[in-house]
Amino acid sequence: MTPFIRKELRSLAIPAGLVLAATLVGAWAASGLVLFPRQHSWDLFALAWFLGTPLVAASSFGTEFHHRTMTLLLTQPVPRGRVWMEKWFCLVGVVSVLAVAQVVSVLVAVQEPSLKAESLWTVVVPGFRLTAVMFAVMIVCSAPLWTLLARSTIGGFVATSVMVMYVEATIGFLGWLSSRVVYWVTGTISAHAVFGLATPVADGVRAAYSLLTLWLGWRVFARFQTVGTGFFDGQSTDLTAARWAVLRPRRGGAIGNIVRKELMLHRPTFLVAAAFVAVWLALRLVLLLRTAAMGPASAADAADVLTGLLLLAYMPFVIALTGIMPAGEDCSLGVRTWHLTLPVSTRSQWAIKLVVSLVVGFVLVLVLPALLTATVADAGAVFFHAAPGDFFKPFAVIVVTGGIVLGFWASALLGDTVKAAVGIAVVAFALALVVLLGGSVGDLVGRRAHWFAEIVTGLNAPRGLLLRATGLELAVPVFITTGIVALWQSLVAFRQVQMARPTAVRMSLTLLAVAFVTALVGAACATAAWQVHFNM
């Protein structure tokens, strides 16, 4: 193994490790050994795969931009063709390992009796072919192109994901069109007559997209110039150079200027949301056409796809982005130090950043999805039920707030957008594990300690609380306690321009300890109360 390949594999190791961890946690959750609704293991598999694979693929070239090593790489006495091939084959190798892990985990999970329902089996297995093969092929082939054009990991990740969704929307539209042509010619209705989502012709389109983007990626790399700026730098494209006049700074009004500046820092988040809404509406149109051809059963499928995209792809990503961007981009741009020397207190700057992030987050992650969901709420989705009102329930608001605060915390601690993105993923999984562990231990404590049950009963807990807690129910108290601790820690970190690694590790461990204790106590109380209520 050459040093270059070792370096390449090392740079992919962290995002790939995250995807692998999420997959294994999904399999663990499916095993029923932990206090976690088993059906949510599918959510973890989907999250890991649909968010993780593009992230891994974008990291291949993205790390060179992030560490500013592209110039160094291109000035080495190695042909660009060789650099490209070695990078790409490393990527293919890593994604192949992840695909195998995903397939094995899902196959293990579906052996569980509770998950072996016919509907799941029939949905999951055909989906395998699409997800584990074609999705991976499209991502691996197209990510280098989009990352080289975006000149950043996050930009490449977003562009790769969005373009794959566009391809799927196009295939769906062509499928509908072909079925209409067949109907006009033969007089019979068949949604997948020539060009359905799972036909060889559709796979051919996916393969063509993959080959085209792979070739274009190589062309871009072969002619790559280390000048200019990235997609999100505000001057490289017509899209980002658009006039955001209302957000231009003015000579007076310091606080107003900071708020405008913060909104400008969120511009990538707005662009991501706009791109997603465009894709979502395109898919909605395509699926509407399919439903018109195939009837109500297809409408439920469509609602599942669209709501699943919202809940599993859009919301987690935008929550993280909203939390990470304000502090992370200040550091990545290198303006944090001098901005803290301006005559506005550090605490005020921190508070403005946080409030703007929360407002942007609520608009993009609660209001916008609620509006989109309103169009598919009555379709009778099988797996993903979400009514517009669900987005404003306390649970959703607390989870979204907690997610944004954790993203903010990660960027304040790590001081860099990409590091914070990886950091928040690591912490999110660590939190999930800690909550599952704490919840499981708490459940055991609650079952065995009768004295504890008596204490809980003595508290006269409301009837609504007399239920055994699940992992998701524990999420509420955990998000509240960890959110408060994360807020305090983010203020401490924000004050320092350079956080020492031991301090960051200590803060992270404190956060996890708080989550563990909260989950333990919460689960123990809930289980004890449940036992007392049902006289067990």
Partner: protein
């Protein structure tokens, strides 16, 4: 410091700071009087930037006390920042803002902003107000940062490697004209703390300096005193230069008939010693601050 002396603009006592286990600043004492230009010299990693960051409350010291303009940076953060301006070693701005918008943005935080100086400096540095900050070169970004630091006419100007990336013409103009004019605007009240490697460029501007090494102050001196104390003596002999055993010599170098001696104290005794050896020619001259820096650290 006696009670009759005015409070220093910067008063640092026993300052310590460490990044994890790496000590960046150790037991540092520093006092800068009003109206002075104080140089902070040191090798890379000597602790200059860390000291500046502690002054700005960007880092919380592990030990010691820091007073800026008589105030505690941790407690009176905003009050201090209203009266100072800072130019960091690596200058960056929001790439989507133009030069004009960047100055508008920074001016909005200040109660006072001298528009005449702004116009003058923009013209002098040939900075286009409509150009995006993201499209500026490194030197132009530094120029913009300097404009933004000078225009509020602060009482204290903190400059961390301010001339890195500037071309020689702009560098000379900045040091001799801009900084000079800034101090002349209110003599005796405008103070500068500058950390730099380009000591020769600031030679005529610096009133006093501190040399840092491994986080410690190894020498603090008035520039004029340094020139008096640090001397170079050159002598030429008819034959090979003899070995010299002089107590006050920092360094003695023999090169054929030439003898080169650096002194860090009264040079008369060394001069007398050399003259006793009957040289053909003998002369002494004051060291430049850069030579003092090199001599001190080597």
């Amino acid at each position: 410091m006696s009670p009759s002396q005015p409070t220093p603009v910067i008063d640092v006592q026993s300052l310590s700071y460490a990044y994890g286990r790496t000590e960046a600043v150790r037991d540092l004492n520093l006092a800068v009087r009003a109206g002075r230009c104080h140089g902070l010299f040191g090798r890379n990693g000597a602790g200059k930037t860390t000291t500046m960051r502690c002054l700005l409350n960007l880092l919380r010291p592990r030990g010691g006390t820091v007073r800026v303009l008589g105030l505690d940076p941790a407690k009176d953060e905003v009050a201090i920042k209203h009266r100072i301006a800072f130019v960091p070693d690596t200058v960056a701005f929001y790439p989507w803002m133009t030069v004009r918008e960047t100055l508008d943005y920074l001016a909005s935080f200040r109660s006072h902003w001298n528009g005449t100086i702004e116009t003058d400096l923009l013209k002098r540095f040939r900075l286009d107000g409509t150009r995006k900050a993201g499209a500026l070169s490194k030197g132009q970004r530094t120029q913009l940062a300097l404009v933004a630091a000078i225009c509020p006419e602060p009482e204290l100007l903190l400059l961390d490697e301010p001339t890195s990336g500037l071309d020689p013409i702009v560098r000379r103009e900045f040091i001799q004209t801009v900084i000079g004019a800034y101090q002349d605007g209110d003599p005796g009240n405008r103070t500068i703390l500058v950390s730099t490697h380009l000591i020769a460029e600031f030679e005529g501007l610096i009133d006093e300096f501190t040399i840092l090494d491994a986080g410690r102050a190894v020498l603090t001196l008035e520039a004029d005193q340094a020139r008096e104390r640090f001397q170079r003596i050159r002598a030429r002999f008819p034959g090979a230069a003899p070995a010299l055993q002089a107590g006050g010599a920092l360094r003695v170098r023999c090169d054929g008939r030439d003898l080169d001696v650096l002194t860090a104290g009264p040079a008369e005794a060394v001069l007398e010693e050399i003259r006793r050896l009957a040289p053909e020619a003998c002369s002494s001259e004051a060291l430049s601050l850069e030579e003092v820096f090199v001599a001190t650290l080597s």
